[in-house]
Subunit: 462 residues, 2 copies
């Protein structure tokens, strides 16, 4: 039996997310992002399609690298305006029972004590369906908005992230023991003080002394997502991540990447499949291949490759407006996303702005795009899984919510017919749905879970 | 016609809020606070009773002053554990249409750039029904958890708050002009760059350069709540607050307080009724006075005056466990809530721990408690309004949600029969519901709104 494909819908609390310009399509509803029913309806649609999760990206700065300006991002709504993603979750959780929620939060501008409580709160309110996509940010515009003056250097961002995670693991996994909450009305004991202890972290970047404010939630630690693919990013993923996003277009390179990270995961003492890989993908489908091609041709008319280029400029830190159309893009050292810079400037395959616009940004975004009948799409997805060792897909939106409805109505039954997709949700938390029954918490070999093995003796209540 | 009484339900994302110990009552449901349906059901109940708002308190530290320990707070669940209140809002907003939400956020541990986006996001998702209760914190335990080492001194907290508000007003009121968002599909223009500008704040405590990440929301600035009643707190309220919480037990003193703040409000160039006063109150009611007394006697058996004392100890910064039962409480200089310290140690009326326990903490909390038939309660509420010049009440929960259901079913019709309560919601945002039609935004005379009168000339888009 083929393995079941994992599926996230990839979205963001804004108008233009990945495939830029498509908000101008007459059927696109992304301008409703401020309306709570836009989110509850989307969540219900995804749950009907048995999606594992809705993944919400975020950015806390603006894309001002291209043309050194935000004029284009504002006109084209390139992730600007962008609202807070965490605040949509409880409405969607109330409207669903099984859908998971993976939400991006940049830890660089957060205090671990408060962020830990936010995720615990959502893990309670969703009954164990929350995940955290850990990012550290890379935009100068964000640093200026936060009062940092300038962006922290790439590797130091990971040093801070390591320490930040040490702190939140202590809060989530160690401050409140199992059984600490008794909620015993007759005995008049809500929590047993002997089973709750303060943490005391004094590190290079953070000083945190105190009790976690939240009692243990169904998963304790949210399911940990990560997307870094620099050397440092991969090491971080191998240690911490349970789900990883990848966006390689080339199968051989992707297979190598996946296998390499799994090797590192093993060296960390974890199992190779303790980490799941999701590949970013755009899909345009219809009843027949011809109709799918027609739909794609229709969509493309509304796409904005230049908006895609402006987005790409901030991801890579390279202002493409300074290049002539046919001038090869050269490596530029900067603080942006290292994998994007490397990918763009890899030796032997230098590209020009004209190449990027014509080869990669037809739909306004850089993800691989599948166009075809439901049957063709299903075959292709299964082939990607088989060829590369990834576990599932992060489906970027095109014209929304139509693209998700097409996928749910057309592709999901095809995948199910191939035995490559679940026919009902597994029970339990998001972590159990992804990794199996009995796996509500981080497994024992995970860096965060280890905290629970180093328990101090139970102290006496005074 | 008497003026319409404004009503907030006072609650918190935790088990024990104000009237401690009542979670042990067999009918109390506060231990369901982690369950999203607890919140959506509560919101719908309050909306049925035409409540103006649900007000959610918060605290980001623990109450470790009494006995220098958190053992009692844990056992009695004295606002510990406590989850994040903001994250419940979208679920409740999706389940209602008119109820407002006033949420406490301590600004001391927030970056203005991100907090501004959080409130804008909620103002969008609630369609203009969000309010912010501005607090600056006072707990040493919070400072240690945040890495500050020790609590910032009382008056400096207000200096920081003033500057913080300057920054968020710039983001909410000035970064995006009216009409900046065109969302014009044909013209392919989402926002007009000529009508969006960055702020550049460089102050003593904050440096913030950037564009507000959110487009203008229905209210722009959330309705501003505040509770400080020290000299500095009152000056802050006079300048910024639109709704103020008071908890004076004595009508003469309350009338003087209200009138004094309104005088200050006028000196700030605002109207006397640009600020609404809500008094904290616990109510136990039933069909007859006798049944109400019986219900109160039943509740009291479950109350924990000692838990109330532990809460009081952190509010005042005074460890009552160090006093003999009959020893008068003396003034102690500390960083806690100044009005509580002053109130407790006022010359000529020193009290002992025994006094406090017997006179104030019968229901485990310090708010005045009304016990009586619906008719008696309605008369008493109207009398408080008439005698003191306040505008409404903040109803603390006792046994929940029973206490709110009793109020909605019994007292609301009595108030309506007296013409003292609305019979349907006004349309519009929370600010319009409280202050009248056409008042979606801060009025021109408000310190935040002034920003919009100092507009720079519209810049040319590049």
């Amino acid at each position: 039996m083929p393995k079941h494909i994992l599926l996230n819908a990839f979205n963001m609390n804004c108008v233009g997310h990945i495939n830029h310009g498509l908000w101008t399509h007459p059927r696109d509803q992304s301008t409703r992002y401020k309306d709570i029913t836009y989110w509850t309806e989307l969540a219900q649609l995804l749950e009907r399609g048995l999606f594992d999760g809705l993944f919400l990206a975020d950015i806390v700065g603006v894309y001002d690298v291209y043309q050194q300006s935000v004029d284009l991002p504002l006109r084209e709504s390139i992730q600007l305006p962008v609202n807070d993603p965490l605040l949509t979750v409880s409405a969607m959780a109330a409207a669903t029972r099984n859908l998971g929620f993976g939400v991006t939060v940049n830890l660089t501008y957060e205090l671990p004590y408060l962020l830990a409580r936010r995720f615990s709160t959502l893990d309670h309110l969703t009954d164990g369906r929350i995940g955290w996509n850990i990012v550290t940010g890379y935009l100068e515009s964000a640093a200026k908005a936060m009062g940092l003056g300038q962006q922290i250097e790439h590797d130091e961002r990971y040093d801070r992230a390591e320490e930040f995670l040490d702190v939140v693991y202590e809060l989530w996994e160690r401050s409140w023991e199992e059984g600490a909450v008794r909620a015993d009305r007759e005995a008049r004991v809500y929590a047993d003080p002997a089973r709750v202890r303060p943490i005391a972290h004094h590190g290079k970047y953070y000083d945190v002394e105190g009790f976690h404010l939240s009692e243990p939630s169904p998963q304790r630690t949210p399911v940990l997502f990560q997307a870094g693919s620099s050397g440092r990013g991969q090491a971080f993923a191998a240690r911490h991540a349970e789900c990883v996003f990848v966006s390689q277009q080339e199968r051989g390179a992707l297979k190598k990447l996946v296998s390499g990270v799994r090797d590192e995961v093993e060296r960390e003492g974890r199992q190779r499949d303790d980490i799941k890989f999701f590949m970013g993908m755009s899909i345009v489908t219809a009843a027949t291949e011809r109709e799918a091609r027609e739909k794609y041709d229709d969509y493309v008319q509304y796409a904005s490759p230049e908006a895609g280029l402006a987005h790409y400029a901030s991801s890579s830190g390279i202002d493409f407006s300074r290049y002539a159309r046919n001038e090869p893009i050269r490596y530029v050292k900067n603080n942006a996303i290292q994998s994007v810079v490397k990918n763009l400037t890899a030796a032997g395959r230098e590209r020009t702005v004209a190449d990027i616009l014509s080869q990669e940004l037809q739909l306004g975004g850089r993800y691989p795009t599948l166009v075809g009948s439901a049957s063709q799409v299903a075959d292709e997805l299964v082939a990607w899984i088989d060829d590369t060792g990834i576990d599932g897909f992060n489906l970027a939106r095109t014209v929304t919510p139509e693209c998700y409805r097409d996928f749910v109505d057309l592709v999901v039954p095809e995948l199910q017919a191939r035995g490559a997709y679940k026919t009902e949700y597994a029970s339990g938390t998001l972590r159990e749905k992804i990794f199996g029954a009995g796996r509500a918490h981080l497994p024992a070999a995970h860096a965060g879970s280890n905290r629970r093995d180093q328990r101090e003796p139970v102290r006496k209540a005074s």
